[in-house]
Symmetry: C2
Subunit: 215 residues, 2 copies
DNA sequence: ACAATAAACGAACGGTCGTACTATTATCTA
DNA sequence: TAGATAATAGTACGACCGTTCGTTTATTGT
């Protein structure tokens, strides 16, 4: 019935099953803790059976990261493209980013975990993380450029600075949520985002462009 | 000759030696990777000899985190208290935070590593991280309050929001430095900090309060 | 200098790690 | 449905894990 995935062979099915558990585990315990044995036990496979799907632990780690990114795009980024071009879309990218963990049934973000785990450890995993993160960064900068084009953002808005600060807000939000268990974490993040966008608005525009009512 | 540490006994000396290596290692490879064997080899001790200093791996991890925080306070936070009360002190706390890694000869920040590694894993390590981070957060909020008292910050400045965003800036800076290897990371962080403080200034004051010349 | 004590060592433990092999079973294709 | 192929299981490996224990060496206070 479904069109695109013509034939999910048995191998692809179990591989997806493994990656489901792997993404879950990597978010909480990190990518180094992605051990073959634990994952095999969790999926009901034998160690060697699971291992055969990837060929090495590093390949498993990379596949897990790729899968996490794929899910993020699926549940967060791509849906945000439905929002109208400009500030509203940027806001939806941000909001979806804030919510994507719970939306995809995860307990922690594998992308953030991979980021801090490998950012200072050269190798294939770091390269993969960097590539994914740079792509995401680039998409955000593109979003800023669009907001400039629509006239909402000032012409001299600094897209790279915007992306820099946006990631900081997300990072801090995760910390407030997970470490401090602060229920107001999302609200703080949104307030920070509003301040960030406000400082990039074209001067002639009123504030009412933002998606939330001015109270 | 030196006054305070009356008698650094042999045990305390080697313990400090171990923690030196441990802090270094934990920053880059994380606290789970703080294995007894690697650390023993690195310090020239035997596994059992090193182990005796802590009694368990978890105690070693906690001691390493404590040591990292102690160093941070020593080289970054406490020196910032020399700055005059208010915005200038806040700015120095921030600047020292940005520079403390290189100042203490580390390659990566163990505190950030511990934060993302344990923020979603309940246990003694998470408790320790939370305690340290909450203390730091509290100190920053106190700094904001002082800046309000001096009249530099608006009376309704949100100290908690300030601390929230400040940590985000630091996080993003680490990512830009380590993952993206962006030489402009510190400059971006400072720009973000300036924007953050600017939005908290008392309305009657001019901008010239900030420490950096207006170009 | 000597006894009391602290510090470090060496060997061994049961486990788990990643990976390599071969054998067995399930799935696909003709 | 038979033969080819893909998927999984089983077993074993050397290495390292955290931890324990008894022994030996170094430091300390007297």
């Amino acid at each position: 019935m479904s069109a695109l995935p013509l034939k999910p062979s048995k191998g692809e099915e179990t591989r997806a099953l493994i990656l489901e558990a792997a993404v879950q585990h990597a978010g909480v315990h990190g990518f180094d803790a992605l051990t073959i044995g634990v994952l095999a036990e969790q999926t009901g496979l034998s160690k060697s059976g699971l291992f055969a799907h990837f060929g090495s632990k590093e390949e498993l780690q990379i596949a897990t990261l790729d899968e996490a990114v794929r899910r993020y795009n699926e549940v967060a980024f791509i849906p945000a493209l439905k929002a109208p071009r400009g500030l509203r879309r940027l806001a939806m990218v941000f909001d979806n980013w804030l919510q994507w963990i719970e939306r995809s049934g995860l307990k922690a973000c594998p992308m953030i975990a991979a980021n801090t785990e490998f950012d200072d450890r050269p190798g294939p995993m770091r390269d993969a993380v960097m590539q994914h993160m740079q792509r995401l960064n680039h998409e955000i900068m593109r979003g800023v450029q669009i907001a400039i084009d629509t006239g909402e953002f000032a012409k001299d808005a600094d897209a790279e600075q915007f992306a820099f600060e946006l990631f900081g807000i997300i990072s801090s939000c995760y910390r407030s949520r997970n470490l401090f268990q602060d229920p107001a974490a999302n609200a703080r993040a949104r307030k920070a985002f509003d301040r960030l966008t406000a400082s990039n608005l074209a001067r002639t525009e009123p504030e009412s462009i933002t998606r939330r009512t001015p109270k």
